[in-house]
């Protein structure tokens, strides 16, 4: 969408066009006057702007405990909406104490979600939106779990992310208090500059099975169509903080690592194929008659054909958490689906029961949120729920 900003700009955003050349356009030849590519993502739309796109290079998630009533939540949503519009545009949010840190062309998105307790204030709970039951392999820590309100900021650059988060937390102070914060990173750009699926810290290509953007499968998987009217165009988000035991993973041979997932490390192709997006051949057997993709391989267990067609749209953010010289590594697992109980929970239960990867992964945090639909100019986030 072309906004008025692109014609008028602010004095503070005047350098935005020039700054864009630092990103997608690599101008090796200074004589070539290439038009700068805008990496500004419009905050407006039927859906919140950060959802139907690849994981951001840098992201921070903040979960809040709500300390206000329904009317207060409405004021916060109006406040955040105007902050989000300004930040996405690369200008300072109203009242910003460090306005120079608001920079344009950083692919900045802000995604907001409501935890299950919000619907005790508002009613109209999306069906299936409940905290997940604790799984057998879970070692959940309260410090990484739950929350009434989620804000997730993503951008090309960490400075923009932490600045936006700081502003959003400051403005939320009268209404809500952070209870956990998680920062992650993802590389979804190949060496040739083209989009790739990206890899987790095990080295696996992670997210191949996702429905493709803009397809009916994607829309049916992600966007709510059957829930309450206010939630039409919304989605749910499951956030799982998964600790990866890199030490024991590194003790495996490559073929052991590949068997656990059912995919090749080099390309992400299924063990029965040659290219990343080749369909899995779940019937294929090796010379000894064993399935090529093992019965407990992650790719088999999570495949939609093995789950009554249930799908999710998942993203990952790698994380590291340092305490002195000790590093914990892991994955912030993000799963979008129209209905948590209908789509995600059966899959989770199945993986928890038998997934080979469970040996090297431990979920230490879990939270569930309903992400309201997007907003258009003149509207605000969650308006239909809160008015």
């Amino acid at each position: 969408m072309t906004t008025r900003r692109q014609f008028f700009g602010y004095a503070g955003a005047a350098a935005a066009g020039a700054a864009a050349t630092g990103g997608a356009v690599v101008a090796l030849d200074n004589d070539t006057a290439e038009a700068p590519v805008s990496r500004t993502i419009s905050p407006y739309g039927e859906h919140q702007a950060g959802i139907a796109r690849a994981a951001p290079a840098v992201a921070e998630l903040v979960s809040f405990k709500l300390g206000t009533d329904r009317a207060g939540l409405g004021r916060l949503m109006r406040l955040w909406t105007s902050d989000i519009i300004a930040l996405a545009d690369g200008r300072a949010a109203p009242g910003d104490t460090a306005p120079e840190l608001a920079v344009a062309n950083k692919s900045l998105t802000v995604t907001v979600g409501f935890g299950p307790r919000v619907f005790e204030l508002t009613g109209q709970r999306p069906p299936g939106l409940d905290d997940l039951p604790v799984m057998k392999h879970d070692r959940l820590q309260p410090a990484w779990s739950g929350g009434d309100l989620l804000v997730m900021v993503g951008a090309d650059d960490a400075v923009s992310v932490v600045h936006a988060v700081r502003r959003l937390i400051a403005d939320a102070k009268p209404f809500a208090t952070p209870i956990w914060r998680q920062t992650g990173f993802w590389d979804s750009t190949g060496p040739d500059g083209k989009p790739v699926t990206g890899r987790n810290l095990f080295g696996q290509v992670d997210g191949t099975g996702n429905p493709a953007f803009g397809t009916p499968e994607f829309d049916q998987t992600v966007w709510s169509a059957d829930g309450p009217d206010w939630f039409r165009g919304g989605t749910t988000l499951v956030v799982r903080r998964i600790r990866l035991n890199l030490d024991t993973w590194d003790e495996l041979t490559r073929s052991e690592q590949e068997r656990a997932v059912g995919r090749k490390l080099s390309t992400g192709a299924p063990l029965t194929g040659t290219a990343e997006h080749d369909e899995l051949d779940l019937e294929a057997r090796d010379a000894d008659g064993r399935p090529v993709i093992a019965q407990n391989a992650h790719a088999r267990l999570s495949h939609h054909s093995e789950n009554d067609g249930r799908r999710i749209f998942r993203k990952g953010l790698n994380y590291v958490h340092d305490t002195g010289a000790t590093r914990e590594s892991g994955l912030i697992f993000l799963s979008h689906q129209a209905d948590v109980a209908g789509q995600f929970l059966p899959l989770l239960a199945r993986l928890d029961a038998v997934d080979a990867l469970n040996e090297w992964t431990t979920t230490i945090g879990s939270a569930v949120f309903a992400l309201p639909p997007g907003f258009q100019p003149g509207e605000w986030l969650g308006q239909k729920l809160l008015t």
């Binding site: 969408m1 072309t2 008025r4 014609f7 602010y10 105007s82 949010a93 009242g95 403005d171 003149g378």
Partner: protein, 167 residues
């Protein structure tokens, strides 16, 4: 250029006026031949912690997509007994705050930024303290006879505080 400006005005982003009389779907705005001033990023500074909790200021950004200058001529709010348009100016070698006679001009095809340390809307004789998280109704009147009814968030802020304590 004018066509471009009008086209741009059709997709304006004025959230702050969402509750006001100027709220219109984009398509309706496009039908207006002389688009009024657009209001964005409005906020009011909280009085929490201030020495004088009977006055504060409102800040916002005004954009004039038209080809003639427009002035912000006055503002009113039910939370304040007196509302004035103020400027910061050098007087006898000292920066002082004073009423801006004639209002605040929003130049054609340009902006006026009301911000701390610059032009602002002064809310005086406040009827109650304003806390972060509150919302304050504010009505702006412009020289082209348009009116904007806003619902403005109250935010905490400390910079420039001394300006609003000196008369």
């Amino acid at each position: 250029m004018k066509t471009k400006l009008l086209a741009a005005a059709a997709v304006v982003t004025f959230l702050v006026s969402s509750c006001g009389s100027t709220e219109k779907p984009a398509a309706q705005v496009a039908a207006v031949t002389t688009p009024g001033v657009l209001v964005e990023d409005a906020w009011v500074r909280a009085t929490t912690g201030a020495k004088d909790t009977t006055m504060t200021a409102a800040f916002l950004s005004l954009t004039n997509p038209g080809d003639t200058d427009v002035k912000l001529t006055s503002a009113t709010s039910p939370v304040a007994g007196v509302v004035q348009l103020h400027e910061m100016a050098m007087q006898d070698g000292k920066m002082v705050m004073r009423e801006k006679s004639g209002g605040i001009t929003v130049p054609a095809a340009s902006h006026a930024h009301l911000s701390p340390g610059g032009d602002h809307i002064m809310l005086m004789s406040l009827k109650r303290p304003l806390n972060p998280g509150d919302e304050v109704p504010l009505t702006l009147k412009f020289s082209d006879n348009t009116t904007h009814d806003l619902k403005v968030p109250v935010k905490a802020f400390t910079e420039e505080e001394e300006h609003y304590h000196t008369k």
